[in-house]
Point group: C2
């Protein structure tokens, strides 16, 4: 295909994706006009809207495959791969705002889409295995949650670049939108740290003898001359 | 309305909501049969599918209004109100799995739905004000995120009760699905705690003298007989 023909095809497909997402009844003529491409050229390639839609879905799947490959989901550090994948898919969702669910009847598309889903699921298992994702979540939760966040960011945070929107998605995906855990909601380890902090503060303010530090560390202590002097053996 | 007539109507509406969500072309006759209600009784009330759909949308809005009222969004403690609201709306989404977006052309429905949205937005502002939600998030993020999570839990975690599903939604909404923040991503306070923890571990293992505890607390220390015995004044 010549370079200008390729550019025209790309313009017809991306314009068509955008217009058909907003109005599924948009005509090929109106899409050609909006894309600035001669209507007869478009008709020569796509006999009807369904053919154009098929090409758009194909372009979307191809873009998703490239997004996954570019993110190096199997080998890049998980946190890096997650951000790159999210950033890439936000861009895909903006360029190709079409729902693949409608095309799953097409065998070839469904196979390619299933392979993408499997790749991302394997990545999320790796992310759990490497300690990025919690393991105490129900099945079918972290997986389906990610595309929902990506989609929300792609369309409801349209003023953000894909990279900025990915910052928000990854942050929310990993940490939620709540203020970081408070004492009463903390897991035991964090509660313990926080008790230690209180004790430190008490020692500094003189309301608790410093020997508490040593006791906490399992060291032997002996009180020496006066109530606030201690012998510590480590 | 007599009690059995009210029960029949309820059965027709909930069965209709479920069947029309799965297949928008489901017939009134098939809905009546599934609901176990005489077809003529249903036709007397709803001349066509659109009328039945209108009644279903109305029932959904009413259920949402009740869910909000029951959650006492303006006065209950925010964490309690958030969980109750989520639990209630999960139940609403399961009973009335219809998308109100289609009905927003209807003035009365749109006004009632807008009032619900405004009530929830006011609640989320209260939740931010009271320190439950972060304030460093972009506009139009925490708000639209909540119904996405609720919807995902309602339908993708169908084996969980509304209460259990609400546990998952609220936990993810507030804390995400990532392992709690790691050292490199931590705010300074947490990093400091974690340094202290490392020091504690070193003292316990004997690789750092216990007096570190005292020094950390700003106390005077004197080395006594031998390298590992210290005098601490607090």
């Amino acid at each position: 295909m010549r370079a200008d023909a390729a550019r025209n095809l790309e313009a017809v497909l991306t314009t068509g994706a955008r217009m058909l997402a907003a109005d599924p009844g948009a005509s090929i003529a109106s899409i050609a006009a909006e894309a600035g491409v001669d209507r007869r050229t478009v008709y020569r390639r796509f006999a009807c809207r369904e053919e154009l839609l098929g090409a758009i879905y194909e372009a979307r799947v191809t873009a998703i495959e490239q997004a996954i490959e570019d993110a190096r989901l199997r080998e890049a550090p998980v946190a890096v791969a997650l951000h790159r994948y999210v950033e890439n898919i936000i861009a895909v969702n903006r360029t190709w705002p079409v729902d693949l669910a409608r095309m799953l009847a097409e065998d070839a598309i469904r196979r390619r889409r299933d392979a993408c889903v499997a790749e991302v699921e394997a990545f999320l298992r790796r992310a759990s295995g490497e300690g990025l994702l919690r393991r105490d979540q129900p099945q079918c939760w972290a997986g389906p949650l990610l595309p929902e966040l990506v989609n929300l960011a792609a369309h409801r945070q349209a003023h953000l670049s894909p990279g900025q929107a990915a910052d928000v998605v990854v942050d929310t995906y990993l940490h939620g939108v709540g203020v970081p855990r408070q004492r009463s909601q903390d897991p035991p380890a964090v509660r313990a740290r926080s008790l230690d902090q209180r004790r430190d503060a008490e020692v500094r303010s003189g309301t608790r003898p410093a020997v508490g530090f040593a006791e906490r560390a399992g060291l032997r202590t002996h009180r020496l001359k006066g109530p606030r002097t201690w012998l510590v053996r480590s």
